[in-house]
C-alpha cells in the first residue's frame, strides 16, 4: 500500500545494493530526480534495466552505481552517444559493465511477461539478427500448435521499478497520461515500486480508461515537482532539448563529468537544490 514519503526516504527504504532496478519512461516522464537520489545515496552493484538508457543512466553508470545493464537502445536521442555508457563498455570505466542487450520489441514483451506472471515472453523477433548469437537470454521455441519458430526472452521482474507520473491523490493512487512507454508493465512486474509525481491532489479525476496505478500496487509516492526534467511531463513542462545537447560536452571526458556530478548531484541536498545549482551554473 502506497505511503506518501520523501524521495530520500523512499530510495533509502526500497533500494539496496545489488538490486535489479528499472527506471522507465520512454522519452517522456523519465524519473531523473529519483535516479539522482540513487546516486546521492551511493547505491552500488545495481542491475539497471531500461529500454532506452538515457542521460540518467549515463549518470548512474558514470557514477559507478551499476554492475549490469539490460537495455535495447543506449544513445542520447537526436544528439549522439552516451559517453559514460560507451566508456564503461569500451574501457570498463569506472568499472566493468555487463550488458544484456535486446530489441525494443523484446524488452516491451519481457515487461508484459513480468507483469503477467509468466516466465518468458514470445515474439516474432530477432530473425536474421546477430543479437541472439551473443546472448543466452534470447532463444527460440517452437509453437506447440503450428510448429512455427518464435523468439523467447525471459520475463523482466525488477526488485524495484521507479517511474514518474503527473498526479497522485492523497491515498497514493497514481495517474499518468501521454506517452506511457512500459511504465504500467514495469510497475506491475516489480516487487516494489516508487512513483514520483508532479502534484498531489484531493481528487484524481481519472478518465474511465486512464492509466491509473492503484495505491495497492505502489510502495511509495513522492512529491517531486519537475522530477522528470530534462525530459518532460505532458501538461506540465516541455522537454529541455538544450540540456540533452549540453550533456554531450558535460559527459564526454571523465574529469569534467566527475566534477559536474560532484557539484550538481553529490553535493546537492535534493532535487530542488540540484535545480538551483543548475540554474546558477547556467547564469
Amino acid at each position: 500500500m502506497a505511503e506518501i514519503v520523501s524521495l530520500a526516504e523512499a530510495v533509502e527504504r526500497a533500494i539496496h545494493d545489488g538490486d535489479a532496478v528499472a527506471m522507465e519512461g520512454f522519452t517522456h516522464l523519465i524519473p531523473f530526480a529519483a535516479g539522482q537520489e540513487v546516486i546521492r545515496q551511493r547505491r552500488r552493484d545495481l542491475t539497471l534495466i531500461r529500454m532506452t538508457p538515457d542521460l540518467i543512466y549515463d549518470q548512474l553508470i558514470g557514477a559507478g552505481c551499476a554492475r549490469k545493464l539490460i537495455f535495447s537502445w543506449g544513445g542520447n536521442p537526436g544528439v549522439g552517444s552516451l559517453h559514460r555508457f560507451r566508456d564503461a563498455v569500451e574501457h570498463e570505466w569506472p568499472r566493468p559493465l555487463e550488458i544484456e542487450e535486446h530489441s525494443h520489441a523484446a524488452m516491451a514483451n519481457a515487461y508484459v511477461a513480468g507483469a503477467s506472471n509468466v516466465p518468458f515472453a514470445l515474439l516474432r523477433g530477432y530473425a536474421g539478427s546477430d543479437l541472439p548469437k551473443h546472448s543466452d537470454r534470447i532463444r527460440f521455441v517452437r509453437c506447440p500448435f503450428t510448429g512455427e519458430e518464435l523468439a523467447a526472452v525471459p520475463a523482466l521482474r525488477p526488485d524495484v521499478t521507479i517511474v514518474h507520473a503527473q498526479k497522485a491523490d492523497r491515498k497514493g493512487n497514481v495517474l499518468l497520461w501521454g506517452i506511457l512507454g512500459v511504465q504500467k508493465e514495469a510497475v506491475l512486474g516489480a516487487r516494489r515500486a516508487i512513483v514520483t509525481v508532479e502534484e498531489i491532489v484531493d481528487r484524481l479525476e481519472a478518465p474511465a480508461n486512464g492509466c491509473v496505478l492503484p495505491r495497492w500496487v505502489v510502495s511509495a509516492v513522492c512529491l517531486v515537482p519537475g522530477g522528470a526534467r530534462p525530459s518532460y511531463a505532458q501538461g506540465y513542462y516541455k522537454r529541455d532539448n538544450g540540456f540533452y545537447k549540453a550533456w554531450d560536452a558535460i559527459a564526454r571526458e571523465r574529469e569534467g563529468f566527475l566534477a559536474w556530478m560532484q557539484h550538481h548531484v553529490l553535493d546537492s541536498a535534493d532535487f530542488a537544490d540540484f535545480e538551483r545549482r543548475l540554474k546558477v551554473a547556467n547564469g
Binding site: F26, T27, H28, M51, T52, F71, S72, W73, G74, G75, P77, G78, V79, S81, L82, F85, R86, V89, E90, E101, H102, S103, H104, A105, A108, N109, Y111, V112, L123, R124, G125, Y126, A127, G128, S129, D130, L131, H134, G178, I179, L180, G181, V182, K184, E185, Y232, Q234, K238, R239, N241, G242, Y244, K245
Partner: protein, 259 residues
C-alpha cells in the same frame, strides 16, 4: 551544377519524401527518415499515417522531434498507445506498410548495423544498439533505409547485423520465412540504390540531379553496380524546398538551434 540553389542533403530528403505515397502507413525512425516522412506529409501525401515507436499513431508534428517521443508527437497524434501495444498489435500485427529506418552502417545486401564497430565483446566503438529496428525490418511490408553516402556508411561486410536485410543475398532472406519484402531501397544524398532481383546486392538505380555517378562508386564500400537504365531524380521543386526549409526553420526555433 554550380548554380543549383539546394544542398545535397535537401535533395536527399526530397527524394526520400517522394518515395512515400499518400495514404501509406509508415513506421518512422528518428533523424533523416523523420524529416523526409514529414516533408511527404506536408507536400504530396497529406493522408500518410506516421507512426513513431514511442506509441504515437497518425501524428502530425508541426516541428521535427529531436527524440522519438517528443511531446509534439503525442499532442498531434490520432492516438497514443503504450510501447508494448505498439510493438505487439501494430507492428507485429502487420499493420505497417513501410518501415523507414536510418542506420550507422548498411551492407551490400541491405543488412543494418547499429550495434558495434569491431568485436561485440570488445568493441572499438559501441553504437547505441538495435532499438526497434530488428522487428521493424521484419514486420513491415517493405523497408526504406536512409543515410548519407560514404565508404564507412555503405560497407561491404558489416561487423554486426543488428537488423536483417537480405542476409548473404540471393534467397537467404526468403529462407527465414519472413513476411514483407525487406529493404527495397536505400536513399542517400547521391542517389537511390535498389536490390538486384536475383543477387539482392544493392545497385545504383537512380542518381540525384547534379550528383556524380563516379563519386557514388568511390563512396561505396562494395564495387557498386550502376543500372543500365539509370534514372535521374528531378531537382526539388520550389514548393518542396519551401516546405522543407520552413519545417527546418520552425524546428530550429523550437529546439534552440538548427538540427
Amino acid at each position: 551544377m554550380a548554380d543549383r540553389d539546394y544542398t545535397a542533403e535537401e535533395m536527399m530528403t526530397v527524394a526520400a519524401a517522394r518515395q512515400l505515397a499518400n495514404g501509406t502507413v509508415c513506421f518512422v525512425g528518428i533523424g533523416l527518415p523523420s524529416a523526409a516522412a514529414n516533408l511527404a506529409r506536408l507536400t504530396h501525401a497529406p493522408e500518410i499515417v506516421l507512426i513513431y515507436e514511442s506509441g504515437t499513431i497518425g501524428t502530425r508534428p508541426d516541428v521535427l522531434p529531436l527524440s522519438i517521443g517528443d511531446g509534439e508527437l503525442a499532442e498531434t497524434a490520432d492516438s497514443v498507445v503504450s510501447v508494448p501495444e505498439m510493438f505487439r498489435y501494430w507492428l507485429q500485427g502487420g499493420r505497417v506498410d513501410i518501415g523507414f529506418l536510418g542506420a550507422a552502417q548498411v551492407g551490400r545486401f541491405g543488412n543494418i548495423n547499429t550495434t558495434v564497430i569491431g568485436d561485440y565483446q570488445r568493441p572499438k566503438v559501441r553504437l547505441p544498439g538495435a532499438g526497434g529496428a530488428p522487428e521493424i525490418a521484419t514486420s513491415c511490408g517493405e523497408v526504406f533505409i536512409m543515410l548519407r553516402h560514404g565508404k564507412r556508411a555503405l560497407v561491404d561486410r558489416l561487423d554486426f547485423i543488428s537488423s536483417v536485410g537480405f542476409l548473404t543475398g540471393g534467397d537467404a532472406r526468403d529462407r527465414l520465412g519472413l513476411g514483407g519484402r525487406g529493404p527495397t531501397r536505400i536513399i542517400t544524398d547521391l542517389g537511390i540504390l535498389e536490390p538486384d532481383p536475383a543477387s539482392r546486392e544493392f545497385t545504383l538505380t537512380t542518381l540525384h540531379s547534379g550528383a556524380d555517378p563516379d563519386r557514388a562508386k568511390n563512396e561505396t564500400g562494395w564495387p557498386l553496380k550502376i543500372a543500365a537504365s539509370l534514372a535521374v531524380t528531378p531537382p526539388p521543386t520550389e514548393a518542396e524546398l519551401t516546405s522543407l526549409r520552413e519545417l527546418k526553420a520552425r524546428t530550429a526555433r523550437a529546439h534552440g538551434s538548427a538540427l
